[in-house]
């Protein structure tokens, strides 16, 4: 639930209106100037239909230096950001050879596996020497090594399902699996803030798509009842299959899904549950097993569990875990398995080693330490930010915390000023988020030490004062005053 000051909402609309008006004015004059210039492309169709590139040309390009910044080291707690400069007003950039060492608050490095790890990295290097960087084949041809088989078995043990299949790319997992699971005549009910990979997969499947209000199980029940009663569009025949798609942690909100209620509703109306645990696997739960462990949901109740290895395991790729029949069907039908190149063997080895560290099978308790540290770090950071008066979204225990910015001018202000103070943050605006709700998204990692977090808090507080994003009153520091009084007495 986002609480906006009314004046901020009005001023944000006005700012976007002004930006839009200026963009239209510039386009108008550009059309005049282009009319005079001759071109040898007569008879060719335009590349962009209508004004679908308007947002990119007139709004995104103005602040393009806040996005796509190149880095030149591993995404650890501190990393090197390459400095760039632009001679033509942010349209093109030239990289310099200088880098600046910044605190990394943007990488999805939840458990700290994004850089050198004493257990994982030697094994990955060994596997690189033995198997080389790519399998050069798809899984069904010659791309399955025993490491891949071990990886799938590791994933089933970790997630708690009978079988699993692993793909080389997390985005492709969603967009290639959903069309295989459901087709025309089926119904997909997805949360309104689902990731674009799910939206792509759902659109590509040909099934009817309905959306329910974000994280509101009562609205999901209402939509389900309405759709089951209505049936397929025009023929009103019963639906062939109904799949409800939810995510574990929503990456733009940091909110955790209300999974027990969703599963109860789906059981009642006999719909399948597809859970995308991209951000939650390995990051939440007592032993890192994701949202099912955190909320006490039996994994047998969730029909399809999907996840990615990019966030907590420091690798690439995605997996689907389900019943043995489901996984066997997917291995025979899914184009990402049959035709796409399999996950590179060193990456698979990294995932296996990371899972072993998390489960404690490497003989140490580093996994449990990492999990405890990320939980502590997230809760500490979120509590401190809220005390300072920022509006921070997300539930407790979630390592993703968006700080609301709202005004379009504060997006580049926050990003650039933080970079100047050597803190690298990721800012997100329209159209990835709704128009009003631009935000800076902070991802906490287990490799951040307490000093790193305190430094980040100081910088964010200063930049927040400069940009005016402390929308709530700050809590006064009562406790320290009473401590001082006791000491004086």
């Amino acid at each position: 639930m986002i609480t906006i000051p009314y004046l901020t909402a009005v001023s944000t609309y006005f700012s976007y209106g002004l930006l839009f008006a200026f963009g239209q004015l510039r386009d108008f004059f550009r059309r005049f100037i282009d009319w005079w210039l001759t071109t040898n492309l007569h008879g060719y169709a335009p590349i962009c239909l209508g004004h679908e590139d308007f947002y990119i040309r007139r709004l995104y390009h103005r602040i393009q230096d806040c996005f796509e910044r190149p880095i030149s080291s591993a995404p650890d707690a501190w990393f090197d950001v390459v400095e760039r400069y632009s001679n033509d007003n942010n349209k093109t950039f030239k990289r310099t050879t200088k880098t600046s060492r910044c605190l990394n608050l943007g990488s999805y490095n939840y458990l700290g596996f994004g850089s050198f790890d004493e257990y994982c990295t030697p094994r990955v290097i060994e596997s690189l020497k033995k198997f080389s960087a790519s399998t050069c084949s798809s899984r069904v041809d010659a791309g399955t090594t025993f490491v891949h088989a071990e990886l799938e078995e590791c994933v089933t043990r970790f997630v708690g399902k009978p079988a699993a299949v692993v793909f080389g790319m997390g985005y492709a997992t969603n967009s290639a699996i959903i069309p295989v699971l459901i087709g025309k005549g089926g119904l997909i009910i997805s949360d309104s803030l689902n990731h674009s990979s799910i939206v792509n997969g759902a659109r590509g499947s040909g099934a009817t798509i309905r959306v329910f209000q974000h994280n509101t199980p009562s609205h999901l029940e209402r939509v389900l009842r309405e759709q089951i009663a209505d049936g397929q569009p025009r023929t009103h025949r019963p639906w062939k299959k109904i799949i409800v798609v939810v995510e574990g942690i929503y990456s733009m909100e940091g909110e955790i899904c209300h999974l027990p209620e969703v599963v109860a509703i789906c059981k009642k109306y006999k719909a399948y549950v597809y859970l995308d645990e991209a951000h939650s696997i390995g990051a939440i739960g007592k032993t890192g097993k994701g949202i099912c462990e955190l909320l006490g949901v039996d994994t047998a109740d969730v029909d399809v569990m999907m996840g990615t290895f990019t966030k907590s395991f420091g690798s690439c790729g995605g997996y689907i875990a389900g019943s043995k029949e489901l996984v066997q069907y997917l291995k025979h039908q899914c184009p990402a398995h049959l035709y796409a190149t399999s996950i590179p063997t060193p990456s698979a080895q990294q995932i296996i080693s990371a899972i072993k560290v998390i489960l404690g099978e490497d003989g140490s308790n580093r996994g449990a330490q990492k999990l405890a540290r990320i939980r502590e770090n997230s809760n500490f950071f979120r509590a401190e930010l809220q005390k300072m008066g920022f509006e921070v979204l997300g539930d407790n225990d979630s390592p993703v915390m968006p700080i609301m910015l709202y005004n379009p001018a504060k997006i580049p202000a926050f990003s650039r000023e933080c970079l100047r103070q050597k803190v690298a943050v990721v800012v997100v605006g329209f159209p990835a988020t709704p128009l009003l709700l631009a935000r800076a998204r902070i991802c906490i990692s287990a490799s951040h030490s307490r000093e790193d977090l305190i430094r980040a808090l100081k910088v964010i507080s200063k930049v927040g004062d400069l940009s005016g994003i402390k929308y709530f009153p700050a809590e006064p520091k009562k406790i320290e005053q009473t401590k001082n009084d006791i000491k004086l007495d």
Binding site: I2, A9, C48, S192, L193, Q213
Partner: protein, 154 residues
């Protein structure tokens, strides 16, 4: 003073912003301040200023609501390329609160403009023409209708 921003079920990012709080107030404030701006720039009578605001409002909203089709970004793969903004809003559902508000605003502007110019010609004629076109374009029966193929697809 704070308001709650409830998440919507509208997946179309081009029209979803209209469901958040503060839009109606911003719209009315922009109209009022543009009247003040016209008054200070042109040094005309209040009635002429309201007429200018009304006609400018007609041009801008007709162009952006009923002429331009599609969305200003490419992320939605062009599913709305045949629909104007008015046809996209509220997922195509007719007679919602937002649509009723947007229909009432040009009519109220027309009444203010004609009252403050004392119903004189030629302002009355221009104002009436503008409001007639605006209101007819917003009828539920005109959903996806292209008269004489004007603004139709190639």
């Amino acid at each position: 003073m704070y308001v709650r921003a409830l998440p919507t079920t509208d997946v179309n990012r081009n029209t979803e912003w209209f469901t958040y709080p503060g839009v109606w107030t911003t719209y009315i404030l922009i109209l009022f301040f543009s009247w003040l701006l016209v008054l200070s720039v042109f040094h005309c009578s209040p009635g002429i200023a309201w007429t200018i605001v009304h006609l400018a409002h007609f041009t801008v909203t007709y162009h952006s609501f009923h002429w331009k089709k599609g969305t200003p970004f490419g992320d939605d793969q062009g599913v709305y390329n045949r629909l104007t903004w008015w046809e996209q809003i509220d997922n195509g559902k007719q007679l919602t609160r937002n649509r009723k508000f947007l229909t009432v605003v040009p009519v109220v502007l027309y009444l203010i403009a004609s009252h403050t110019t004392d119903y004189q010609h030629p302002m009355l004629f221009l104002n009436t023409l503008a409001v007639f076109v605006m209101v007819v374009a917003k009828f539920p029966h005109m959903h996806k209708v292209r008269i004489f193929g004007i603004n139709g697809d190639q």
